[in-house]
């Protein structure tokens, strides 16, 4: 049930501003794909085109093709809502729903779509998702408290729990660990390893070690120069990327010699 994603000649615009240019890649199913690259090169922008979240921003549009398991994502017949049900997302900034408790935040994907759940099933989903996001022990005694009452890192893990609660087939994670301590980070990495057996996972990270640890494939994005659109420099299996990259700039970026 996991899905592979084929991207060909993708140009991504914000109005007239071309943010990312000419991306070609194949994201394998049941594998972890990591994106690395300097700030502002368009990693988040590209990630958001994979579940049609990009078009939520006024004026934002794409050119090119994204094919998920044989279906072209940007076909007129495709319903973006259905796409997002299958391709979940964790955002760079934590965004729990302020009007909901921790419990309801985890179940938001079902509750907001008015899916009926038995109380016992709901409890099981909440516990499983929170355990997956390594948050269960911290919040199990205050599930009815507002989600906004958590620390920044806890909020981020709550958002991860919310995303995995709906069991999407593809999970997009935009710097999910940037606000987390090493223990939670390693818990999230364990979760990624676990989810990999069933889901396709795409993760953006600024942490080279993390990319090396968790991913099977890595894509390196870069800007040619300031003001130029971002582009995909190299896309290769992670082991090759970190030992013997094709491009010199990849080598320079990974080893910290930037420029």
């Amino acid at each position: 049930m996991a899905k592979s994603i084929d991207v060909s000649d993708l140009n991504i615009y914000y109005g007239d501003f071309l943010a990312v240019e000419g991306v070609n890649m194949t994201i394998r199913s049941k594998a972890v794909t990591a994106f690395i690259g300097p700030s502002g090169c368009g990693k988040s922008t590209f990630l958001r085109t994979l579940n049609r979240m990009h078009e939520v921003i006024p004026g934002a549009r794409v050119e090119g093709k994204v094919v998920v398991s044989g279906q072209s994502l940007y076909d007129a017949a495709i319903d973006p809502v259905a796409v997002r049900r299958q391709i979940g997302m964790v955002f760079q900034r934590p965004n729990p729903f302020p009007t909901m408790s921790i419990y309801d935040n985890v179940l938001a994907g079902m509750r907001l779509n008015s899916k009926r759940l038995k109380k016992s099933d709901a409890d099981a989903i909440v516990e499983k998702s929170l355990k997956g996001a390594n948050l269960w022990n911290e919040v199990k005694d205050r599930l009815s408290k507002p989600g906004m009452g958590l620390s920044g890192g806890q909020q981020q893990r709550l958002c991860i729990a919310r995303a995995i609660a709906v069991e999407p087939e593809v999970l997009l994670m935009d710097e999910p660990c940037s606000a987390l301590d090493p223990i939670s980070t390693s818990a999230i990495e364990d979760l990624i390893h676990e989810l990999k057996s069933e889901y396709t996972i795409v993760i953006v990270t600024h942490n080279m070690q993390q990319a090396a640890r968790v991913s099977d494939d890595t894509g390196f994005f870069n800007l040619k120069a300031a003001g130029q659109p971002g582009h995909l420099v190299e896309f290769n299996p992670t082991t090759k990327m970190f030992t013997n990259p094709d491009e010199e700039s990849t080598e320079a970026y990974i080893s910290g010699r930037f420029g």
Binding site: N51, M53, V56, P58, V81, A82, V83, R84, R85, Q86, G88, M89, F91, R93, P94, N95, P96, F97, P98, T99, A108, G109, R111, L112, N113, S114, P146, M148, G149, L150, G152, Q155, C159, R162, A163, V166
Partner: protein
């Protein structure tokens, strides 16, 4: 001082150090006392009234304290003192009329209010007695109907403008027309409603519901504006979080955006209600005036509190032969007090509701 090197500690040049000479703590009181004494003295000599004396004292204080501070503490502290003085003076200038008004209404109105005043209409009343029951009910009914018309229209318009319009031509025109509507004089709204209902029902029509229509014209733009502001305050992160879970747009609006903004929307609606509840002119034109109770919005003239006040004050009846004011004056003040109490209660309710529904924000990222 320019000769001293930066490394040498400054021994006598305090002005270049971290500490400055400040005015003594009692300076504010001292200047205040001085200002009052001077203006009081002048007032005694020139024979001024209370208002002139107070104004002069405030002006003297506002000038004196910053001047003294300028001489002792330097420019930045003087500017700070001046701004503080001006802010407090402006605050007092706003507060004085409000307190005065409430005091006046309480003084004149409290005596008129008793059980009979609240539960009797003016039917067949000549001279003393009678009450505001018919006007109270009229005001409550007309305002309720106004809210029932305006709140859905206003909120749905705001939702369209914020969530769907996003600056397209229809949205821009709607915003423009809403702004124009905000500026419509209330009497014009009344005349519009009158001509509308005359067109449909014939020239003699005077019903409470027509008043509600007229007031809706005044209330809808306020509701649209305040709701719009509140919806815009909802962070787009939340909408995106909801979309990313595969929630359709309308559910996102109904279950995320509206609940998050609910406190502010309710407050805005209640403030809009308290704004129209005191309107007189349009009701005088379309709802008419009557002395008896009428609970039917769709049939017959309906009295309302503002119109009642106007009527009692403009034709207060005949003063009792024993001397004193005509009975209408006391009734007008009493009705005014009741109206103010209603508005205050509404504001209180708005605050409480706003508190209850506001999403918890103690903790921020």
């Amino acid at each position: 001082m320019s000769t001293s090197t930066p490394l040498e500690p400054e021994l006598d040049g305090l002005s270049e150090g971290l500490s400055t000479v400040r005015l003594p703590r009692a300076a504010v009181l001292l200047v205040a006392a001085l200002a009052v004494a001077v203006s009081g003295g002048l007032a005694l000599i020139l024979g001024w009234g209370l208002v002139g004396t107070v104004v002069l004292a405030v002006v003297l204080f506002d000038i004196g304290l910053p001047l003294w501070s300028r001489l002792v503490e330097g420019g930045r502290y003087a500017a700070d003192r001046l701004a503080t003085c001006l802010v407090y003076s402006a605050f007092a200038a706003v507060l004085v009329p409000l307190v005065w008004l409430i005091w006046l209404v309480l003084k004149n109105g409290l005596g008129a209010i008793d059980g009979e005043f609240l539960t009797y209409s003016m039917r067949g009343v000549v001279g003393e007695g009678g009450g505001i029951y018919h006007a109270l009910m009229g005001t409550l009914l007309v305002t309720l109907a106004t809210a029932v018309i305006s709140v859905p229209i206003g909120i749905f318009t705001a939702i369209y403008l914020v969530e769907y319009g996003k600056g397209n031509r229809l949205a821009r025109w709607t915003t423009f027309l809403v702004d124009v509507m905000t500026g419509i004089p209330s009497i014009v709204a009344g005349l519009f409603a009158l001509s509308l209902f005359v067109l449909i029902f014939g020239p003699a029509i005077r019903i409470g519901f027509a008043g509600s229509v007229a007031l809706s014209l005044l209330m809808i733009p306020t509701v649209v504006r305040s709701t719009e502001e509140m919806l815009r305050l909802v962070p787009s992160d939340l909408r995106e979080a909801s979309y990313a879970l595969g929630v359709p747009k309308w559910r996102t609006i109904a279950k995320i955006v509206l609940p998050t903004a609910l406190g502010g929307i309710v407050t805005g609606v209640v403030l809009a209600v308290s704004r129209v509840i005191g309107e007189t002119a349009p009701l005088l034109v379309v709802a008419g005036a009557t002395d008896s109770v009428n609970m039917n919005l769709f049939n017959g003239r309906m009295m309302t509190l503002p119109v009642y006040i106007y009527q009692q004050y403009s034709s207060p009846g005949i003063a009792p032969p024993t001397g004193g004011d005509p009975p209408g004056y006391a009734r007008a003040w009493g009705a005014a007090l009741v109206l103010i109490v209603i508005v205050m209660l509404l504001n209180l309710v708005a605050r409480v509701i706003g508190k209850i529904f506001a999403p918890p924000t103690e903790r921020r990222r």
